[in-house]
């Protein structure tokens, strides 16, 4: 099955109706998501942090994989849009009784859900659902396998845009376990579409995917070379399971070579931003002094994540609505 997101996630008018991945989307559409998110950021500063946009709609968070932060920011985003929210921790419920993904979702559809926010360990799960299971329900990909995490990428782009004028002059380094990172993949795509001219990937050879060049990036195996004069450093979380599989000698060795410390950060531009999708492993990929330091925008990323998710959810719901109306009008 092809994982091309472009045709599947847009309606006939070219508006978002699902949000599955970054690839194939235009710079205009990504910019529209960022602009809309900017407006929602302001809502988060009000006394009443709620707008009535999705009143009466039902949003199901369907998480086949654990994630406290992503799920709670999606939940908060939906609630701030006045939607009703259902949280399904699927890994502890029906699937463990043998129900298939297909049946679980058909049941949710029968509860008149308008949107599924899906996280799944398999690459392509969100695409599969959008294509085969519930074509009239808006599907938001909250992370699928090693493939994509598009809302994380957009919140990273919003973080960069709010701290820097634009993308056209920037050098951005993504550091760590690229091979297993859906965040890295979606970020490389988003940065390229938004016109970032210098995307650097810094990782040991064992944690680089085959064919990384297709993303139009420069690859570095030496952190101290790769970080030189960058404007933004995006650190990735190192999953401890990776050590057991023999891809890395040890945590200590990885930290010595690829950990972001005050010393290695000094090689970047003096005001370089430090980002991390969380949860951070202090002393594994990032030094505490850096994570809590003045250049860190890691907690801003969490705040921006709510606004980006509000933007994507309202745009996809709107795209579903206009799609339904134009197909009804055509009958």
């Amino acid at each position: 099955m092809s994982l091309k997101s472009s045709q599947l996630q847009l309606n006939q008018q070219g508006q978002l109706r699902h949000f599955l991945g970054i690839d194939g989307l235009s710079r205009e559409l990504l910019t529209e998501i960022l602009d809309t998110a900017d407006s929602f950021l302001e809502v988060g500063e009000r006394a009443i942090k709620k707008v009535p946009l999705l009143r009466g709609k039902t949003v199901c968070n369907v998480f086949f994989e654990n994630s406290t932060r992503t799920r709670s920011t999606f939940e908060l985003a939906a609630k701030r849009l006045s939607a009703d929210v259902l949280n399904l921790d699927v890994q502890t419920s029906s699937t463990s009784k043998g129900e298939t993904l297909y049946d679980t979702l058909r049941n949710l559809e029968a509860m008149a859900a308008d949107m599924f926010v899906v996280r799944h360990g398999d690459s392509g799960a969100a695409h599969f659902i959008a294509r085969n299971v519930c074509p009239d329900v808006a599907i938001i990909n909250a992370g699928d396998g090693n493939h994509a995490h598009p809302t994380q990428a957009m919140l990273d782009m919003l973080t960069i845009r709010r701290h820097r004028a634009g993308f056209e002059q920037l050098s951005v380094a993504i550091v760590g376990d690229i091979l297993h990172s859906r965040v890295a993949r979606s970020n490389m795509e988003a940065l390229r579409i938004l016109g970032c001219p210098d995307i650097r990937i810094i990782a040991p050879r064992t944690l680089l995917p085959v064919g990384i060049e297709q993303y139009g990036v420069r690859v570095f195996n030496d952190l101290r070379v790769g970080l030189r004069d960058v404007d933004v450093v995006i650190m990735l979380r190192l999953q401890k399971e990776r050590m057991q599989s023999g891809l890395l000698p040890s945590e200590g060795e990885f930290y010595r070579q690829y950990g972001l410390t005050s010393d290695s950060l000094a090689l970047a531009k003096p005001d370089a931003l430090v980002m991390h999708p969380g949860p951070i492993n202090r002393g594994v990929e990032i030094e505490s002094a850096v994570a809590d330091g003045p250049q860190s925008v890691i907690l801003n990323q969490v705040t921006y994540g709510i606004a980006v998710r509000m933007a994507v959810m309202s745009m996809a719901m709107a795209g579903q609505t206009t799609q339904r109306q134009s197909s009804q009008g055509g009958q």
């Binding site: 602009d35 809309t36 009443i48 709620k50």
Partner: protein
């Protein structure tokens, strides 16, 4: 062809009436709130000429529209900015064209999500007499009866002028 009034003289009279109204109703220390985009232009002019001490806020009512389920989200939403506390404040809400009243309904809902104002005075440049809700301007520049299929739009900001637009009839 409908003759459209000049904006300058209308603003002049509206400014006089507004200050007199605020005096008479004892609405002291007001804040002005313009609705994007035309309402912001009018609000700026009223503030500059008549209420120089009033803080100015802007509203984009896109998240409060009642036709989201029909037409979806508008493109080009701008953040609302109210750089003052709404609680117990006398507000002057400004829009360019009063048509159905739905925009004002949305704006009032949005304002009340910021707090509980002491009062809201509605100021609009023109009313095209197509009201669908019980909403009227306290201060009005001009009332225009337009033939079916025509609407009026404020162009600007320099100079501000009214133009007729033709809309497709259902």
């Amino acid at each position: 062809m409908t003759a459209l009034p000049d904006v300058g003289p209308l603003l002049q009279r509206m400014g006089q009436e507004l200050t007199a109204w605020l005096d008479r109703t004892q609405r002291t220390d007001p804040a002005i709130v313009g609705i994007h985009t035309g309402g912001v232009w009018i609000a700026e002019q009223l503030r500059d000429q008549w209420l120089p001490n009033a803080p100015l806020g802007t509203l984009d009512i896109a998240f409060y529209r009642d036709d989201f389920a029909q037409i979806g989200l508008q493109q080009g939403v701008r953040p609302s900015e109210l750089p003052f506390s709404v609680d117990d404040r006398h507000l002057v809400l400004v829009d360019d064209v009063l048509m159905t009243g739905r925009t004002i309904r949305a704006a009032l809902n949005e304002l009340f999500d910021y707090g509980r104002p002491a009062s809201v005075t509605l100021v609009t440049l023109v009313d095209i007499e197509a009201r669908q809700l019980p909403i009227r301007a306290d201060i009005l520049g001009a009332s225009l009866a337009l033939p079916p299929g025509q609407r009026v739009k404020l162009a600007g900001p320099d100079p501000l002028h009214l133009t007729l637009i033709n809309v497709a009839q259902p």
